[in-house]
Structures are given as structure tokens and as C-alpha cells.
């Protein structure tokens, strides 16, 4: 078994960045832990499972992402910015940023509200409502896209009402915000819910026994305790909104400069076989995602320390 593990590991050397981890896997496989990087365990299978994990990870995720990075590096510094700093690309980034931000903001407020109601109150059908919150995770984005699009079209259920008030949603940036609100909805609810649930009731009782009003207790005791979770949920929803494609393109109208989002622009460039353009924009997006991922990780570790401190 350990021999097979070492074999698997040897193939990993494709991804040179992971050689350190790989060595450790082999060391585990041969059950020698001279360096003490792997603590001895009586349980078997460390070498093969870590080997498989690293191989699979390298082939499916890391190698393709490395291909993108290398393509981008091939463009050179000026070539890269030449592709990114065009009015159409910048406009797409502006659209993506503002709509994702607006949608995350809506979800921040309403996500907290939904979490609050689900945790603190009891009402009939609660379990069903709780399950419904996860629908945006489960519903394919294309399905959500066409549903929202026909809902908000001027002859749709909601679009017709709004049209009567002179508000147009479908085929405008407002439509994008609606779609991104839908896909980002579970994030804030699901990050805030467990924290709200674990919040000790004694803390609130203490605040009220010290003379705080219900509102003061909420704003000065509960809200600060929820802040890390709220921000994490916001960042998750924002990150999801930036990259979202399927639910948006049907409702957006996709007018360059007005309602064209970055992921769509990448696809357009690819369809025109403009790989340079697609690569440059894609790399920008990827770097943004990594920055957001870093922020989210930091927020989450903040959340954990906050949570445990209680």
C-alpha cells in the first residue's frame, strides 16, 4: 500500500509548488517521520490518501489555474494593461462591482432580518421557510436567470406592476442587482444564524438588567457580537456576485458599458478567439477573488476568536 502511495506522489511532481507537501506524503507513506512534519499515527493510509488528494488537486484545479497565470504572464506588463484598461472592460468592472455591492448590501440587511426571525421567533411553517433559504444554492443559475427575467419583464408578474410606476428592472443594472440578490441570499443568513443561536441569553439579560432598552441591547450588545459574521456573509455574497454569470445574463440586457458584466465579457472575448483579452480580464478577476478569499479567511478567523471568547 505504501509503495502505491509513493507512486502516486511521484506523479505530483508536475506541480512543483507542492513538492514540500509531496515529500511529506512520501515520508508518511514509507512511515518514516524523521523531520517530524507528520506526527506518527497508528492509523494507516496517510500516504495514499494525501497522494491522491494532491494529484487530483493538481490536475483538476492547480494546473488549469497555473495555465491561466502563465498565459497572462506571457502578455507582458504593458500587454496585460492594454487589454484591461479599455473603456468597455473598465465599464464592465464598474457594473459588476456596483451591482454586486448593492446586492450584498440588500442581503446584509435582509439576511440579518431573516436570520433573526428564524432563530428568535416561532411561527408555523418555519422548517419550510428555513429550507427555502437554501434554494438559491440548489437552483441552477440558468433556471433562476430565466425565471427572474420573465418575472421582471414588463409583462411579468412583478415587472408589470413596477412598469405601472415607471420602474424598469429587466434589461437594466437594477435587474442585475435583483439576480445577484437572489444568488447571494443564503450567505448572510447562514453565517449569521449559528452565531445568533449561540449568543448567550445571559448577556442580553445582563444588559437589560443594567437598564438598557431592547433597542439599546440590540445595537450595543447583539449587533457588535454579530459584526464579524455579518461582514463575512457580506463578503461571501459580494464575491459570489462578482463571479456570477448564469442568473445575470438573461435579465441584464447585456448592453456594453451599461449592463455588461465582467464574466460575460470574458465569454464574448473567448467566442471572438481573443484569448489575450479573456486571459487578462480573467486574471484580474482571479486576483480579485483571491484578495476576497483572503479577506474572508481573515474575517472568519476573527469570527472564531470572537465566538470563542464568549
Amino acid at each position: 500500500m505504501s509503495g502505491a502511495g509513493a507512486n502516486v506522489c511521484n506523479r505530483v511532481s508536475l506541480a512543483s509548488a507542492l513538492t514540500v507537501l509531496q515529500e511529506r506524503a512520501q515520508r508518511g507513506a514509507t512511515r518514516e517521520n524523521r523531520g517530524m512534519h507528520v506526527r506518527y499515527s497508528v492509523l494507516p493510509g496517510f500516504g495514499p490518501t494525501l497522494g491522491l488528494t494532491l494529484t487530483w488537486l493538481s490536475l483538476i484545479v492547480l494546473l488549469p489555474l497555473a495555465a491561466l497565470a502563465i498565459h497572462a504572464a506571457g502578455l507582458g506588463w504593458s500587454g496585460f494593461w492594454h487589454e484591461v484598461l479599455t473603456p468597455r472592460v473598465l465599464a464592465a468592472f464598474r457594473v459588476s462591482f456596483t451591482t454586486a455591492f448593492a446586492a450584498a448590501l440588500i442581503n446584509l440587511v435582509f439576511g440579518l432580518l431573516v436570520a433573526w426571525v428564524l432563530v428568535r421567533y416561532r411561527f408555523p411553517g418555519q422548517r419550510l421557510v428555513d429550507a427555502l433559504v437554501d434554494l438559491p444554492f440548489a437552483l441552477p443559475t440558468a433556471v433562476a436567470g430565466i425565471a427572474l427575467s420573465s418575472l421582471y419583464a414588463t409583462n411579468g408578474w412583478i415587472g408589470a406592476i413596477l412598469a405601472g410606476w415607471g420602474i424598469k428592472v429587466a434589461f437594466t443594472p437594477l435587474g442585475i442587482v435583483m439576480a445577484l440578490t437572489f444568488v447571494g441570499l443564503p450567505f448572510v443568513v447562514r453565517t449569521v444564524e449559528p452565531v445568533l443561536q449561540d449568543l448567550p441569553a445571559e448577556e442580553e439579560e445582563a444588559a437589560m438588567s443594567l437598564g438598557a432598552s431592547r433597542w439599546q441591547t440590540f445595537s450595543r450588545v447583539i449587533l457588535p457580537a454579530l459584526a464579524p459574521a455579518l461582514l463575512t456573509g457580506f463578503a461571501l455574497a459580494f464575491a459570489r456576485g462578482l463571479g456570477e454569470y448564469g442568473s445575470v445574463i438573461f435579465i441584464a440586457g447585456n448592453m456594453p458599458g451599461i449592463s455588461e458584466i465582467v464574466p460575460l465579457l470574458i465569454i464574448i472575448k473567448l467566442e471572438q478567439f481573443n484569448y489575450h483579452g479573456a486571459t487578462a480580464i480573467g486574471t484580474m478577476m482571479l486576483m480579485l477573488s483571491f484578495v476576497l478569499l483572503l479577506v474572508i479567511n481573515l474575517l472568519q478567523s476573527w469570527m472564531r476568536t470572537r465566538h470563542h471568547a464568549q
Binding site: 517530524m36 506526527r39 506518527y40 497508528v42
Partner: protein, 357 residues
């Protein structure tokens, strides 16, 4: 079955869990590894069981080198601190597991396994609960299932990690006596880990006192309690009064006190004196017996049960004495009374002895 541990060292990162430990386990004995948390006792037990691996040193089981052997080959029964019963298996299946997973050629038939499991459950008095799941058992019952499960593989050595740690006081006492009886019947070489001195002293044939990854003392309960080999053992086992002192001209002068104790067999210099509370004798001040002895004032009396604990103040230092109720009455001990104090069996440790943690 004898086990010999020699020069076993184990590090976790920069933490030295075991520091060149030597130990000999005699055939058929019940041995306690006693020490505070972090003293290395559980690490030593896990290394004995093959669950962890020593960095250096060797272990022999009956003269045969065992460090490279898997738990299966060592024929060791391990009882985990939190029992670690398989929660999705019934009591019966838990006990049968070790027999079930044997290679086909060594495996008993299904009926034989079942019979053996039934016998074991009789032994641990759980036969009626064979079809229950671990979650449906009390702590004491789970512990007995864990024991039956470990015994099923007919181990040559039984290793128990804090076997009574998670139980409440009453169940712990009952189970302790039961385990002692079981051991007396089966005579299987057993090593158990505990941080509870009472448990170690009451249950074990011999006690190994551990501290900071080292063995401080090995001996019968009487030996380690009455003749502690180091200040640590003295301090760890039972209540004790501790005084800094200076040794000069064959006597030890207690720092800040006008009290001296004889110190002939120890080199001059700073030292520590230990006195057990029941070795502190109170003498009435008025009689001749108290002449020349230092005086102490009674601060508090805790008098519950057959013995009383008296807290005294001796020249600004606290001192604890223990006596039976008769003695307390005959001395007419009350808060605020003054008594002469005699330390009957002081124990001195010179500066060269290992320091306390």
C-alpha cells in the same frame, strides 16, 4: 508477561513529553502511572500500546523488541479514556469487533464469537444489555463494555487510560473495587494511567510517579507515600507542609522561623523541609512537654468526620495539622488557643535534589 521500557524519549514539537524513561512492568501486576497532566503518563501508555511511537529508546515485551510491532501484533488491550466505543454498533458488536476483524484463517466461527462475547458480557455483568447502543448506557456501563472489548482479543497486557476519569465519585469507587477483583481473578498484566493519587494508591500493586516526562519514583503504594524519593513525590501525594530552610551544623533552621529540625545526613546549604499534617503534634503550652518548642496559634478548625484539620499560625507562617476527634477534644483545641508544636517526622531535601515544578 514482563515489559521493559528503556531510555524512551518522545517529543511533540518542542515539548519534551518523555525524557529517557526507564520502567519495568512485572508479570501479572497492576501498575499505576500517576502524575499531573502533562507529565507524560498517557504518552507512555500510548507508546506501550503501539498507538504512538517513541523517538528513541526501546520497549521489549517478554524480551522481544516491540517498538516496530503494530498494535495487532503486540496483543495489547487498550481501554481509552473516553471509552471510544463504536457508537453505531451494539454492545455485542463492539465486544465482537476485535474477533471479527481477524484474518479469515485465524477467525472463530460466528457462533464461537457470539459465545465468547456472551461470556465476556457476563464477566462485566452486562449480559442483559447486549443489544443496546453505547448512547443508551451509563458511564460506568460504557467503561465496562470498553473493558470487555479490550479483553475479547485475549491480550497479554491490558492498558487503561484514566479508566475512571469521566465517572462520578460513587461509581468510580465501585468500579475501582470491581476492577481490582477482576485483576485478582485474571492476573493479566495491567498498566493504568491516573492523576488521582487516591485511586493509584488504593488500586495498584505498584505506583510509578511521573513528572515532566520523567519517572520520579517507582514503588508500592506504602513506599511512595511513606518514603517519597523526591520533593515532587512528597508534594504530589497527600497534603504536606513545606518550609524553606538553611542547613548548618547538623540542623536545619526554617527560614523566618525559630524552628529547627535535626539534619545530619545532608550537606550544608539551602534545603526544603516537608512535614505531613498528621506528623504535626500539638502540645499544651503549660506543661513541661512544651518547653523549648515554638508556639503556634489556632486560626481555624475544620472538624468533619473522624479526623479534624487544624490550621495554625506559626510566627506568621501557615501550618496544617491533622488529628482524630478524641485528641482534638482532650487538647481542648479552640480558635485563638496557643500550643507548642513538635514536628515528629520531618523530611529534608537538599538543594541538589530535583526542583519542584
Amino acid at each position: 508477561m514482563t515489559i521493559t521500557v528503556s531510555q524512551v524519549t518522545k517529543r511533540f514539537g518542542s515539548f519534551l513529553a518523555l525524557d529517557a524513561v526507564d520502567l519495568h512492568v512485572r508479570s501479572g501486576e497492576l501498575l499505576a502511572l500517576l502524575g499531573p497532566s502533562g507529565s507524560g503518563k498517557t504518552t507512555l501508555l500510548r507508546i506501550l500500546g503501539g498507538l504512538d511511537r517513541a523517538d528513541t529508546g526501546s520497549i521489549t515485551f517478554f524480551g522481544e523488541e516491540a517498538l516496530g510491532l503494530t498494535p495487532r501484533d503486540r496483543q495489547v488491550g487498550f481501554v481509552f479514556q473516553h471509552y471510544s466505543l463504536f457508537r453505531h454498533m451494539t454492545v455485542h458488536d463492539n465486544v465482537a469487533f476485535g474477533l471479527d476483524v481477524r484474518p479469515r484463517k485465524d477467525r472463530l466461527t460466528r457462533a464461537e464469537i457470539s459465545e465468547k462475547v456472551t461470556d465476556l458480557l457476563e464477566l462485566v455483568q452486562l449480559a442483559p444489555l447486549a443489544d443496546r447502543y453505547p448512547a443508551q448506557l451509563s458511564g460506568g456501563q460504557r467503561q465496562r463494555v470498553a473493558l470487555a472489548r479490550a479483553l475479547a482479543i485475549e491480550p497479554k497486557v491490558l492498558l487503561l487510560d484514566e479508566p475512571f476519569g469521566a465517572l462520578d465519585a460513587k461509581v468510580r469507587k465501585e468500579l475501582r473495587r470491581w476492577l481490582r477483583r477482576l485483576h485478582d481473578e485474571m492476573h493479566i498484566t495491567s498498566v493504568f494511567v491516573t492523576h488521582d493519587q487516591e485511586e493509584a494508591l488504593e488500586l495498584a500493586d505498584r505506583v510509578v510517579v511521573m513528572n515532566s516526562g520523567r519517572v520520579e519514583q517507582v514503588g508500592t503504594p506504602g513506599e511512595v507515600y511513606d518514603q517519597p524519593a523526591s520533593p515532587f513525590v512528597y508534594d504530589f501525594l497527600g497534603n504536606v507542609n513545606r518550609f524553606e530552610c538553611m542547613i548548618r551544623n547538623g540542623e536545619a533552621r526554617l527560614s523566618g522561623l525559630s524552628l529547627t529540625v535535626p539534619a545530619t545526613a545532608i550537606a550544608p546549604g539551602p534545603a526544603v523541609v516537608f512535614v505531613r499534617p498528621h506528623d504535626v503534634e500539638l502540645v499544651p503550652c503549660d506543661g513541661d512537654a512544651g518547653a523549648g518548642l515554638p508556639r503556634a496559634r489556632v486560626r481555624h478548625i475544620f472538624s468533619v468526620g473522624p479526623t479534624a484539620r487544624v490550621e495554625l499560625d506559626i510566627e506568621g507562617h501557615p501550618l496544617e495539622a491533622v488529628m482524630d476527634q478524641d485528641r482534638l477534644r482532650s487538647l481542648n483545641v479552640h480558635s485563638g488557643n496557643w500550643y507548642a508544636v513538635r514536628l515528629t517526622r520531618p523530611r529534608l531535601f537538599g538543594a541538589g535534589t530535583r526542583e519542584l515544578p
